[in-house]
């Protein structure tokens, strides 16, 4: 992932130029985590998924 792209994300999309100045030290971590989740999600996440599935599952488990 391009460090310049990340810098732009911090400076322009998040309006945080101070964060952008520290992009270099975070780039490897962000790239690794992004790639890992992006790849695994393609493999594992069913189309019929929502971010609310977890709460629904907890509510179901709590009733038992």
């Amino acid at each position: 992932m391009s460090e310049d792209l990340l810098r732009q994300v911090a400076a322009d999309l998040n309006q945080s130029p101070d964060t952008a100045s520290r992009t270099a030290r975070m780039a490897a971590l962000v790239s690794d985590i992004n790639t890992r989740i992006a790849t695994e999600t393609l493999r594992r996440m069913p189309f019929d998924s929502t971010p609310h599935d977890y709460q629904a599952w907890l509510a179901e488990v709590d009733k038992r």
Partner: protein, 462 residues
Amino acid sequence: MQAKQIAALDLSALAAAIAKGDVTSLEATAVALNRLDTIGGKLHAVVRLDRDRALEAAARADKLRASGAALPPLHGVPLAHKDLFYRAGDLSGGGSKIRADFRAEVTSTAIARLDAAGALDLGRLQLAEFAMSPTGYNESLGHARNPWNPAHVPGGSSSGSGVAVAARLVTASLGTDTGGSLRHPGAMCGLIGLKPTWGLVPTDGVMPLAASLDCSGALTRTAEDAARILSVIAARDYLSGLEAGVSGMRIAVPGGYYRELLHPEIASALDEAVRTLTSLGAAVSETAPPDMALVNALMQLVMSVEAATIHRRWLIERPQDYADQVRARIEPGLYYPATRYVEALSLRAKITQEWIGACMGDADLSLLPAISIPVPTIAATTEGDPADVARVIGQLTHCTRGINYLGLPGASVPCGFDRAGLPIAFQLVGRPYAEAAILRGTQAYQSATDWHRRIPAAAELN
């Protein structure tokens, strides 16, 4: 009763003594305030005390008891809590410079439930800046000190809560856990730090770190005390069945990832704890965890995105008012695409079910290390090569942080001391809402061991 005898009582014993009239609430409160002032000051555990308000409340509690009225379960018991829990009108700094002057407009539900149960609120305790460190690191307000050895970290982020309960300044203290912040001070101070199932205890009126991961809970010395507090703040009964024992209970011990970093002294204490539980009738089996690198990545993404979202204004306007170590943990959240965040939340139920299947199988509980290495010194987590510091900090959360993404309940349980005299603990993790089983297992273990009865020299009770 002498001050030292009062200070030595645990929560259940103190509540019973006050209810019976063996100790007045005023006596117990005066002892706690005095110890928080003196010992708490030395260990850097206290942020703020409201002495007059506490003593007035204690006097009212004694008057109510004298009237013969029915008393609530924690009547007149003095407590103090992590400085993230709001009380309307009071300062609530969150361990930070940025919020030093913030006054809450609401009272947290957890605090309100303790009020209704009769507990007294003496003030607020130290924590890591914005609850962002497993050691208790607080550059601007000062690091809290481990009562077993003040050169060592007490664990964080609920550092002051751990110190205050271990040093017998108060009998219990509310804290929060987003990546291990109750279990770390629990493990490092020799206490039970019980992180409830995500959502079980309300987190309204508690300064957030990452709402999808944050859990409110308590640090206590015994399983019974933990059950007593949880019964109040979760508004469910955890005292019934506490004494049922572990005969027939199935406990899984995952290997692989959870043994990777294990220091020999910790491994030996954990093995001994497993033998003790087996001797009490538990059936122990070995299991293998799933891909924990993925679980940890999901946790890191959710935590940093949610934290960066609420901190963005200050990252823009006041970046210099964060410790660099803290800012470095928040800022990565500004870089992930929204799709990754939604994916991380969407995968949560499936990944949690996979973890339960792999690590627990058909067992009732899973036994993990709480922390894999001996409690480090403050110097080892603040000085020298930043890569070495980061490595130690990463090791401390190796077995705790993933549990927050999974949202499962987990508790640190003291099971020994290392060669330097610092506590060692295991961690009991259960399925969602398995707090009663965790407490039952902990109670059985504590009935056969005395680690939780040992008192650090800093408590000045020996």
